[in-house]
Symmetry: C2
Subunit: 293 residues, 2 copies
DNA sequence: CTCATTACCTGACTTTAGTCAGGTAATTTG
DNA sequence: CAAATTACCTGACTAAAGTCAGGTAATGAG
């Protein structure tokens, strides 16, 4: 992280927030307070629950309530009871509200066009490609990976999704009872550890280590949610797991994998793992790897 | 401008304003209203005139006055008479204010680091490169080119800078009286036209056309400010001038150039101009070009 | 069935941001 | 030198944004 890199990022922040921010402001107000405009946009044609709106926009409950009332009195939205829980309420746009939403949508398009329009087609392509790259990498940078309790609800959810994926991807299917599954307590220090990757708070992947003997660790349950793939999450996860293995006293790390998981195999090889003879009798394993730390 | 491009830009705007905006907010407030924080930052260690602050931050005179008073009462800044014009005043940071500024500066660096830190070195390089590209192209997109009065102060200023540049770049120097200079009135419709490129309001380049005869136009005075080079401004300028020439009835466009202006020559060639025999006796011209519209 | 919790609402605030109509002193212009 | 202009200040506003301390009805836990 050189001074030059940091300066480039700071300069980018200034330029982009200035150029885009100013445009957004002028394009997206439509004579309405920005808060209400955002709320209208966030409700969207499909409607949204109040709780979801509150958390997405980071609003105080009272503030949201008042803004919704304002949208209602302007005939733009209606708030009704949600079937199921009579406490929860659900906001929907009226006909007029949907028209406003469509207008905002069109303005957003205009805004994007106003950025592209002055550029030559080649420059347009370059801008769009660079934007995609920035977006992808900013998202990647927003992924956090931390040690968490292997028995937490989020951990269980990740594991369930992981198993579901194995079941669809393994040619032979996947039966939980047959895999040499390991209980959550094996992934708690000092026996092991469990990592969860999160993007904006929601789980986006997991990974676990446990000690096989005093000098050997095994990595298991490495999984990245489809929405977070291509961001280098698996690589970071693997490094963190190795670091923990080292802390726990391991000098060597083992892991096994199924032949269907090709991207996993190439990750392991890239990271310095070498294929070894089977070190277990996992019926779903086709390849076994080891790496000296 | 395909739907896909527009969608990518909208998605970029959302992601960047969310990720960067939220970070900036939390990093850069330091328990102070954002307006005051920005003002403090904008005054900077060197201080700044109130007029400059007003225009840079787009503030109402009364509002700025009050915010400065607030900074003063918190012991962060002081406002003194500027020597020269006793009406103008100049804001400076106190010791304490400079410390705050340094803290903001450090936080800005932290923010940038917090974005880079989770990424691998290779990804860091890609992010920084993509950010530079986005910034460059967004700046390019913000350049406007429009017809203006060739006798306006800004036009004269551009021309003066243009001539200054010729004087330093031509091996033989440049003497205004010898060049077949053309008065501003030649660049007024229906004889011709004058374009000024602007970035955030300030002139960043110019270009002119005039009719040599009923079917032939000549392009002159093409110049782009050093700060706006590499953004494709010259190309856009050239196209606009050709468009105007067409409107004025031209079927052919002529132009001449000095051998020292190599980037201009390559632009003309790229744009379809072919070298021709001298069509004038401009002592500074080494190459003459023509293009059929 | 009781009590705590949840999901939302209401009223009463405060702070921030921003505008507008004058005012004063210094300076420039004709 | 008078009149206009400039550079800033002051007071009196408004609107938007956000916070806080209670409420109420529905729901869930023991």
């Amino acid at each position: 992280m050189s001074k030059l890199q940091v300066d480039q990022i700071r300069s980018f922040n200034r330029t982009v927030t200035r150029r885009i921010g100013v445009l957004e402001d002028s394009y997206l107000r439509r004579g309405r307070p920005l808060g209400e405009a955002r709320l209208l946009f966030e409700i969207g044609p499909e409607g949204a629950g109040l709780g979801a709106l509150r958390s997405r926009l980071g609003l105080d409950s009272g503030y949201l309530s008042r803004m919704l009332r304002s949208l209602e009195t302007h005939g733009l939205a209606s708030v009704d009871k949600l079937d199921g829980d009579a406490r929860s309420r659900f906001a929907t746009l009226t006909e007029k509200g949907r028209a406003e939403h469509a207008a905002y949508d069109a303005l957003s398009d205009d805004l994007a066009n106003s950025i592209l329009e002055p550029l030559s087609p080649a420059a347009q392509d370059r801008l769009v490609a660079a934007m995609a790259e920035v977006e992808r990498l900013l998202t990647a940078a927003a992924v956090t990976i931390g040690e968490e309790d292997a028995n937490s609800a989020d951990a269980q959810q990740c594991m369930a999704l992981y198993i579901e994926e194995l079941a669809t991807r393994f040619e032979e299917g996947f039966d939980t009872s047959k895999g040499n599954s390991v209980s959550g307590s094996e992934f708690i220090r000092p026996h092991g550890s469990f990592l969860i990757a999160r993007l904006d708070g929601s789980p986006a992947g997991c990974g676990a280590v446990r000690m096989l003997d005093a000098a050997t660790a095994e990595i298991k349950r490495m999984w990245v949610a489809p929405s977070a793939r291509g961001l280098g999450v698996a690589g970071r996860m693997l490094h963190k797991l190795e670091e923990i293995a080292r802390e726990l006293g391991a000098q060597t790390v083992y892991l096994d994998t199924n032949r269907a998981l090709r991207e996993a195999q190439s990750l392991y090889k890239r990271d310095g793992y070498a294929e070894i003879k089977p070190y277990n009798d996992n019926p779903y394993a086709d390849h076994w790897f080891a790496k000296r730390l």
